[in-house]
Symmetry: C2
Subunit: 230 residues, 2 copies
DNA sequence: CAGTGGTCTAGACCACCAG
DNA sequence: TGGTGGTCTAGACCACTGA
């Protein structure tokens, strides 16, 4: 075969679904049958069907066969990058300004997320990320010093905390949430936006195993859109 | 073997990366070597490594080997469901109210997205989605009548346009974008929110092949968050 | 029970990359 | 040129489903 046949099969199957030949809820022929229809091995058919199942187009159950999903489940996938990459990918020059960098008693929501004790202090860092010198995002971050002690001596003027942490502690797990918030007066000034503007906010907490490293809220400039294709 | 060995391998590889044994940028042993190390076939190792490559943890190149990514690429994945499912999954009772449902000349941005001619009309539908009787989301939708003529006779009082379209024309492709917007006066009234509130907006266009079916803006109630785990 | 998908294996061929 | 990952194959065993 051509060496790309699992991709070819996937396309063909998808077309038979989209084209209405295999209707929602209907059973798809068994792997063995498809294999002989297409003149390839069952392994190849299996691979193509598993890929379609991952995208939510079909549903497979051992013993019960493969069905076209009644309501396809759409998965929107976004690539979360470092802010600098995001800006540079748009062809702008990156810069950042640190507004605050000091140890302070962590507020309740931070203590909860980072699993800190009542009176624990954490490193509070406020940063404005700039694209071509203009504010692009405002970052409000708390770092668990115990989980990343080297942050205290990191050269944050040269490399943003965001990026430093990704480099220093890669391969973390994390929670992420997208919300819309109305800027507060002080953030509006930093971001040079009208008071009351609506900003897209990314709220993220990351950990490595049992070490809860950092939690952050990132407010994007007005009009920023997170886009993808389904 | 246990019958789950590709998942076991994947975990093991991930741990060796997270644990620092395989450092960022470093070359990972070749598939054949790993296969003999773990006492399994190369096919199984290949499957585990391909899965890790998809998650962005490693990078593989024919001829050049497999490396741990210097900066792991994080993929945030959201499941896009019908509004009703969203509400019912949260344990609330779904309802909806149609505010408008009529043919009208499409504005420029709609004509562009649906590939309509200058003077084309399209169906304009405004809906408020309710959770336990309270506004949950406001939907501003335009439907290309040529692409879905049956919409004109759809029982929209019983089934929302959102859901009707998904049922009638499943398996479409689409664009989707998330932004934050400040509510306008009229939307604020419909949503029973204070004027000027920030809302999370989902802006979506869907098509099937060359038939551009519909475009929609969905404004969620204040405080709504789109969440996932990385 | 027969049929289904999930998985693993051993072997093979190829495209690609580096030295 | 030798080693790498990408892919396909044929065969096998198993867990699960439904009649």
């Amino acid at each position: 075969m051509s060496g790309m046949s699992h991709a070819v099969l996937r396309e063909s199957f998808k077309n038979r679904i989209v084209g209405g030949e295999w209707k929602p809820g209907a059973l798809i022929p068994a792997e063995e049958i498809l294999a002989s229809d297409y003149g390839c091995s069952r392994t190849t058919v299996n691979r193509a069907l598993q890929a379609l199942a991952e995208t939510g187009l079909i549903e497979r159950r051992r013993g019960a066969g493969t069905r076209v999903k009644l309501l396809p489940v759409r998965q929107a996938q976004f690539t979360i990058s470092v802010v600098r990459d995001d800006i540079e990918a748009a062809g702008a020059v990156y810069g950042h300004r640190i507004l605050l960098n000091k140890k302070a008693p962590a507020p309740a929501y931070v203590r909860k997320r980072l699993h800190l004790s009542e009176k624990a202090k954490a490193l509070h860092i406020l940063t404005v990320h700039l694209a071509d010198g203009r504010p692009h995002a405002y970052e409000d971050r708390w770092v668990n010093i115990a989980a990343a002690p080297a942050i205290l001596t990191a050269p944050l003027a040269e490399i943003s905390a965001n990026e430093w942490l990704v480099r220093e502690i890669p391969y973390t797990s994390g929670d992420i949430a997208f919300t819309a918030v109305q800027v507060t007066q002080d953030v509006a000034e930093m971001m040079e936006t009208p008071a009351g503007a609506a900003l897209l906010c990314v709220d993220r907490t990351t950990w490595l195993g049992k070490k809860y490293v950092t939690t952050m809220k990132l407010y994007y400039r007005p009009g920023y859109a997170l886009q993808t294709t389904l």
